[in-house]
């Protein structure tokens, strides 16, 4: 892996920086006021929210109040000036896949005014391949772990890559899901904006800690013909941006606790921060599509 992949590591200022993704795939920050020209565009814009890694059931010193921090995030989402079309949870809803944890998570998440889409993290599938998870969060719209939907001209695909790890220690999509993805994408035009969600990143972010997906190259080759692809992940508990060709990747902050930056320390164990610092690294993001305009990703911290 190239070291410069990490140069895009975006720090968290707690101010809710707006990141605009340009046509060249490079990220730059800009002021909210610069986006007012979107009013000139004819068709409706789309805004959605990503939350991730809520880890309900976690009680360790890194955050002894994960339900409260999730609640804080939900309150903030519900009072966004532009109500999101939907919210996507990119996995690790629970900490130990216990039915009681899923029940509690479901109860808190049900306060969201917007519809909720979920996909599992490896913390949601411990010991039962996601049985308890799918009892709490219906999986009826998924096939082979894949779910896709369309909204305001944007095509969304949610993938599952936490059920098989095998020899590599990385996440895996599996051939059946890849076949379905190929079929799903075949029906899409190349200029349709795509947004892909999965728990574990779909590129080699830091394979030593399992922050990679063994068969992600197969998925990325299917995505390569599209002019605008945004891949949003969880699992990393911090924001790391990366791009390859037309594909822009971004991992999300957690609402529960931060993890060390890649290779910083011996293991990816929860990082303990003073409480005021903790809230600054927890949060959610909004993503906005205005037709003919750059995709805007806005990070909201809980501080």
């Amino acid at each position: 892996m190239k070291r410069r992949n990490f140069i895009n590591h975006v720090g968290w200022t707690g101010l809710g920086i707006l990141w605009a993704v340009g046509g060249n795939g490079l990220l730059s920050s800009c002021n909210v006021s610069e986006t007012t020209d979107k009013k000139q565009l004819n068709s409706s814009s789309l805004s959605f929210v990503q939350i991730s890694d809520t880890h309900i059931g976690f009680h360790k010193p890194a955050n002894e109040h994960v339900t409260q921090t999730l609640q804080k995030a939900i309150n903030a989402i519900n009072s966004l000036p532009t109500p999101p079309a939907f919210v996507v949870h990119t996995g690790d809803i629970s900490h130990l896949s216990k039915p009681a944890e899923f029940d509690q998570a479901k109860q808190i998440l049900s306060q969201l005014k917007a519809p909720l889409f979920t996909l599992p993290g490896e913390h949601d599938t411990i010991g039962d391949r996601g049985k308890a998870y799918s009892e709490a969060f219906s999986q009826k719209d998924k096939k082979e772990g894949l779910q896709s939907w369309d909204h305001s001209g944007v095509h969304f695909v949610s993938l599952t890559n936490v059920l098989d790890f095998g020899e590599t220690g990385k996440g895996k999509l599996g051939q059946a899901q890849l076949d379905l993805l190929a079929k799903d994408l075949a029906a899409q035009k190349g200029d349709t904006p795509l947004v892909v969600f999965s728990h574990i990143p779909l590129y080699d972010l830091y394979p030593k800690w399992g922050w990679a997906t063994a068969d992600s190259a197969n998925a990325l080759s299917l995505l390569s013909r599209f002019s605008s692809v945004t891949v949003l992940n969880g699992h990393i508990h911090q924001i790391i941006q990366h791009s390859e060709g037309n594909i822009r990747f971004s991992t999300a902050a957690s609402t529960a606790y931060p993890l060390p930056s890649p290779g910083n320390g011996e293991q990816p164990a929860p990082v303990k921060l003073p409480e005021n610092h903790l809230l600054a690294v927890l949060g959610f993001r909004t993503v906005e599509f205005a037709p003919g305009h750059d995709t805007k990703v806005d990070q909201h911290s809980l501080a």
Partner: protein, 143 residues
């Protein structure tokens, strides 16, 4: 704005390194030096919380299975004990056994009834790997 971000990352990293260092010095997370080497002939003293007698113990510590490879005889059992703050699992790559989640200070004992090599991982941190080699009782005297 950009530089401010990098400074924040640097500060957080420094705090982190310090915390990790302190954590490493925490008596709770330090493996006792007088821990006897585990062998199949020397059953370990039972720790609290375990209901089953084990012939050997694998400690799960600092995101590692210790020892990483272990040989036992058919019919013998291994206790997997997690002393990390993070939960872990003991999950066979061939699906033949799975501990479910072991939280801090939780242990799980499994009896191996078939001979062979059984690689396993932690399903939460799949880069954590170990192997149990189970030999048939016939070959007991050879090992």
């Amino acid at each position: 704005m950009k530089y401010r971000s990098y400074i924040l990352v640097a500060v957080v990293s420094a705090v982190l390194v310090t915390l990790l260092h302190l954590y490493g010095c925490n008596p709770q997370s330090t493996q006792p030096l007088n821990q006897p080497k585990v062998t199949t002939n020397q059953p370990l003293e039972q720790e609290k919380g375990s209901t089953q007698k084990a012939n050997a113990t694998v400690k799960i510590h600092n995101f590692k299975f210790e020892p990483t490879t272990l040989k036992i005889n058919v019919g013998e059992s291994i206790k997997f004990a997690n002393s990390d703050e993070e939960p872990h699992t003991v999950t066979a790559t061939d699906g033949s056994f799975d501990s479910k989640a072991l939280d801090t200070e939780e242990a799980w004992t499994h009896t191996f009834t078939k001979p062979g090599a059984f690689p396993y991982i932690c399903a939460i941190h799949p880069f954590m790997k170990g192997t149990v080699t189970v030999t048939s009782t016939k070959g007991k005297n050879e090992t």
